[in-house]
Amino acid sequence: MSTHTPHPDLPPPLINVGLIGWLRTNLFSSWANALLTLVSMYLLYLMIPPLIDWAFIKADWVGDSREACDSGGACWVFVGVRMDQFMYGLYPASEYWRINLAGVLLVALMVPLFIKQFPWKPWLGLFIVVGYPIIVFMLFSGGVFGLEYVETSRWGGLTLTLVLSSVGMAASLPLGILLALGRRSTMPIVKSVSVVFIEFWRGVPLITVLFMSSVMLPLFLPEGTHFDKLLRAMIGIALFQSAYMAEVVRGGLAAIPKGQYEAAQALGLSFWQSTGLIILPQALKMVIPGIVNTFIALFKDTTLVLIIGLFDMLAMIQAGLADPNWLGYAIEGLMFAALVYWIFCFGMSRYSMALERKLHTGHKR
């Protein structure tokens, strides 16, 4: 009998590893690829240096009027001077602290959620979804505890964007889940109501929904009925997005194998138990990318409230552009808007990826 001696591991050829290996496989793997690499590099060379030059090197950062902007680059002074309005809209300046307080409070409430051993996470989560919005509403609109009353039409800027989108998200996810379950229900009435609701709201443009809510609805309501414009916009956005959410969630529900339902039934779990404990945790995890996609779309769609006279951040920037003292700084304003939206959307995207990794339990079936 002969004994087998394993070969020792040899290092791979230098040309396949390290920087040279990376360049060869990724940038210069073929003639066509090498050509594309060179063309792209040339285009980047043409675009990036002037952009950096304009946005940073030649830009003006400090000052309080357009006279400070004379170096030919970007005039960030415009953004700086108008920053309060971009953030808080037309909210009275003496009351900005309320909005800041709400922000600080949210961060303080969120911190324990990231601590692994914190025992009351579910309750805290529930408080953030149910209790916190009530606090924010009282804080923002005032009229209680000696706070000055601020009507919702003065809420604006990034604050309004965040209020609208978080209400939209918090309402559309549960509503969407219910609609998705309804659409898959065997009960004919539940099913048809869900189908009609989803198809109606999905078939109408959001602008139409907002217009209808602000212009048409008051015509149908009895004389003198007051129905807050912001509230109407919120309801419109929530219902509109829940229809999209429902279809995303339905995709996840359809992907759960029949055996999961049968195993849950065979163990004696009721419909709501098996839905809540077995089906939804798996279905929602599968459609996290779709849910976040809808959230990001919702976040950006909130800018449409501009057309019914609510002043979100983009509307405040546009108002700033019309200021005779600051004519001609549209690029700076819009780039700032783009940057802020991008930061939030990118944040959501990264969070969803982290969540997917965290919830992955290495299984199929």
Partner: protein
């Protein structure tokens, strides 16, 4: 919930009747899957059901815990009649455990959580008690060390043993097995069969759809042969294998025993 008249009536002449099916029919649309099924299973009986695919074996045992609905006839499980009444269905499902061909473990829960879920939510057992009981059953199926793992990290045979433990955690009086070894690699079939044999020795009432004829010979009290939605023949294993009565059974046995 227990219908006393039925239990006493059926107790006459037998130890204790666990399952009774009387004239059960079922259709899938136009297709007549079960035709006049009559079956009595006594407490502690171990029954193996075999037959060609599409013969209605799985459908028959799935009717017992209402995964399939029968359209005509009566099914009475441990004194409770299976009707549209949700309370009766829940009552029966609590008493009847089921093991599936594809295990159907819950992939997002650990092995221990899989086992504890139903006792906690259906039997309203306190969590620590449910976990203690689950660990005992996991030891019985010889995989306590996998309790904290997810099903996706286990082999097929281990998953099926977890599925058996999960059913046992509900403390059922009847266990249904729907081709429990058909999706397993040959090497893993034995570990699952061993677990089932142990369960049989403990006196559990078992109905098992399987093609493992060795298992049928060693464990079953009775072998049932089905074809075309009917029970063609039923007998003790020895007479069933050595002296089959119908031609259809002979043909089936010759086909599966040849290899």
């Amino acid at each position: 919930m227990t219908d006393a008249s039925i239990s006493t009536e059926n107790n006459a002449g037998s130890d204790h009747l666990m399952i009774e099916m009387r004239g059960v029919h079922k259709w899938y649309g136009q297709f007549h899957v079960l035709k006049d099924i009559n079956l009595r299973v006594e407490k502690g009986e171990r029954i193996v059901i075999c037959g060609p695919s599409g013969s209605g074996k799985s459908t028959m045992i799935r009717c017992i815990n209402r995964l399939e609905e029968h359209q005509r006839g009566d099914i009475i499980v441990d004194g409770t009649e299976l009707t549209d009444d949700v309370k009766h269905i829940d009552q029966i499902r609590r008493e009847v455990g089921m093991v599936f061909q594809h295990f159907n473990l819950f992939p997002h829960l650990t092995v221990l959580e899989n086992c504890c879920l139903a006792p906690i939510w259906v039997r309203k057992m306190p969590r620590h008690e449910a976990e203690k009981a689950a660990m005992e059953y996991l030891e019985k199926v010889k995989i306590p060390e996998q309790a904290k793992k997810y099903p996706g990290q286990l082999s097929g045979g281990q998953q099926q043993r977890v599925a058996i433990a999960r059913s046992l955690c509900m403390n059922p009086s009847i266990m249904l097995f729907d081709e429990p070894t058909s999706a397993l690699d040959p090497e893993m079939i034995k570990e699952v069969l061993d677990t089932m044999i142990e369960l049989a020795e403990s006196g559990m009432t078992m109905l098992c759809v399987t093609h493992e004829m060795g298992f049928a010979k060693t464990v079953a009290n009775r072998v049932i042969f089905m074809d075309g939605g009917e029970i063609i023949e039923q007998n003790e294993p020895e007479s069933f294998f050595n002296n089959p009565q119908s031609d259809r059974t002979k043909l089936f046995l010759s086909q599966i025993l040849q290899h």
